[in-house]
């Protein structure tokens, strides 16, 4: 009987994941002993856990460290994305505090599931092995299926969970088939080994297994980033899921899918770069246009933001198509600012809403400007930023994405992007018109601020404005993060 020699293990690169999973398991245990009226303390505990994780993530900035035989690598790219995920999870937890009480879904398991989803996202960002990326994606997806259907009594929420599950599992099939074919063509699932094999055997680029594998992986990730024509699940799932979860899904998981997508494409398929940038060009144009055009006709504000999130994935794809360091840095910056501006907008929606997801239409915002001027002004900041109007973070992000595209010679793509961005102003402004220029029938007296949402709004407004006015430091960090 041969004994297995366990190789030396360096836990440092996955320390954030370890801390966060331990906190999540601790929460599951504590949850049993916490009475249902004080489940909010679990939220506080999970925020503490997220802060500890963030501290551990930041310490990884600098030189890339690989571990587990090259299965994970904590580099600046991963650190930047992990911070985005932690921000999105923390903001989602802050806004769910009030919401779960109102909707009577105050189950303590919400927080551990959000944390597990965050662990999955972090593994996707630092995974250098297709298996780790796949398993990270599944940890994320399974937690999200449950979170989308978390409001068990509501048919809409059930439906959102079921739809998300069926389409998510379907897209996983494509992703896996692509990974399998790539493994067959190169003989390894480790991205580092694939890159090494491709560098020494350039003729693999003409092997149809390799090409089809790349295409299927791109299709799988397009589903996950909600790029058109693979976006069909987004509006239904976003509308039906509990609002804080929708906010979370539109920010964190989308960024996670981009992180894995970018790393796999740039590191593993450099020889096919010409092919996949062409593919991404088409995807970017379709995604921006479809998202914006359908968003124009939406009355339900959650559906409108769902289509707008499709359009924003399109803007990020513009930077990906450019495929230069500026473009990737632009995506990093854009995902960070999108997290804050979008979750901020959802926080206001949570405040305005009534039990049972009533009050979700644009018309219900009529008169908010007179009755609740501060809240309306805050929402305006987020909408301006989403529309890409200076001096907000959204403007700076789009500016860098489009200028990266021009630098790589995709002038038409940048023009289409700017036109799309101009069209999107219509539906964001429509909300503002309702808020300020339509008479109201409601007095909005049910809108009660809680400390958690106030902190969330404050953070979101401050970040949106600061990133818009003085983006220099963060952009510099994003540029330093472009290393694989």
């Amino acid at each position: 009987m041969e004994t297995i020699a366990i190789p030396a293990i360096n836990l440092a690169p996955i320390m954030p994941e370890i801390i966060l999973s331990c906190i999540a398991m601790l929460l599951l245990l504590v949850n049993v002993f916490v009475p249902s009226e004080s489940k909010g303390y679990l939220g506080v505990l999970s925020l503490v856990g997220l802060v500890a994780t963030a501290a551990s993530v930041v310490s990884g900035w600098g030189q890339p460290v690989a571990a587990f035989g090259g299965a994970v690598q904590l580099d600046n790219f991963a650190v930047f994305f992990k911070l985005i995920f932690i921000c999105s999870a923390a903001l989602a937890i802050l806004i769910s505090d009030k919401y779960v009480v109102r909707e009577e879904i105050n189950h303590g398991e919400l927080y551990p599931l959000i944390l597990f989803a965050t662990v999955g996202m972090m593994l996707m960002a630092c995974g250098m092995d297709l298996m780790v990326i796949f398993l990270g994606l599944e940890v994320l997806s399974i937690s999200l299926y449950v979170l989308a259907g978390f409001n068990r009594g509501s048919l809409k929420s059930n439906e959102a969970g079921l739809k998300y599950f069926l389409l998510g599992a379907f897209s996983t099939g494509f992703l896996l088939y692509g990974m399998a074919l790539t493994y067959g063509a190169t003989g390894s699932t480790k991205i580092g080994n694939i890159a090494g094999f491709v560098a020494t055997n350039p003729q693999v680029a003409t092997n149809s297994l390799f090409v089809v594998g790349m295409l299927l992986i791109a299709v799988g990730f397009s589903f996950k980033t909600a790029a058109a024509p693979f976006h069909m699940w987004t509006p239904d799932v976003y509308e039906g899921a509990p609002t804080p979860i929708t906010a979370f899904m539109s920010a964190g998981p989308k960024a996670a899918a981009f992180a894995a997508f970018i790393r796999v494409m740039i590191v593993a398929f450099p020889t096919l770069k010409h092919d996949w940038t062409d593919l991404l060009w088409i995807l970017a144009v379709l995604t921006m246009t479809v998202g914006n055009i359908i968003a124009l006709s939406q009355d339900n504000i959650k559906r409108m933001l769902a289509y707008s999130s499709i359009a924003h994935a399109g803007y990020a794809l513009v930077g990906f198509t450019a495929c230069n360091p500026e473009g990737v840095a632009g995506i990093l910056f854009y995902m960070l600012s999108y997290t804050f501006m979008n979750i901020g907008a959802f926080a206001v929606i949570v405040l305005i809403g009534k039990k049972g997801e009533a009050n979700g239409n644009v018309q219900d915002f009529a008169g908010l400007g007179q009755k609740r001027p501060l809240l309306a002004a805050i929402l305006c900041v987020f909408l301006f930023s989403l529309a890409g109007i200076p001096p907000t973070a959204g403007f700076v992000g789009k500016f860098y994405l489009f200028s990266a595209a021009i630098k790589s010679g995709y002038i038409w793509l940048a023009i289409i992007g700017v036109l799309n961005s101009a069209a999107s102003v219509y539906y964001y402004l429509r909300v503002m018109v309702y808020m300020y220029f339509k008479p109201s029938e409601e007095d909005f007296d049910w809108v009660g601020m809680t400390p958690a949402i106030a902190v969330c709004l404050l953070l979101c407004v401050a970040t949106t404005l600061v990133l818009g006015v003085v983006p220099g430091t963060v952009l510099e960090l994003a540029q330093k993060a472009v290393q694989f």
Partner: protein, 100 residues
């Protein structure tokens, strides 16, 4: 020894049948079974690659895919039960509260 392409083509056929099933059927459980069929086609691809490459990695990958399939089955069927409790049906045509 049989050529690798036989196995690849068989798995491509199974994968396509699974895809057709997902697109054509309307019962959520049958759709889920078709997704399982797709995953099994991937498993066959991986194991045949593993055999012909002489590396164990593909089989380990299959191991993880099976774990994930089991976890997905648990969550997916729980979602279907929750949906059925409210709606008394799992036809995806009935999944229409949320319109386009």
């Amino acid at each position: 020894m049989l050529a690798l392409n036989n196995y690849l083509i068989l798995s491509a056929i199974l994968f396509s049948i699974g895809t057709i099933g997902v697109l054509v059927r309307r019962n959520a459980i049958v759709i889920f079974m078709c997704i399982e069929l797709m995953l099994n086609a991937v498993n066959l691809t991986l194991i045949s690659f593993s055999h012909y490459l002489g590396s164990i990695d593909g089989q380990v990958f299959v191991f993880f895919i099976m774990t994930v399939a089991a976890a997905e089955a648990a969550v997916g069927l729980a979602l279907m039960i929750a949906f059925y409790k409210n709606r008394e049906s799992i036809d995806v045509e009935d999944v229409n509260m949320l319109k386009l």
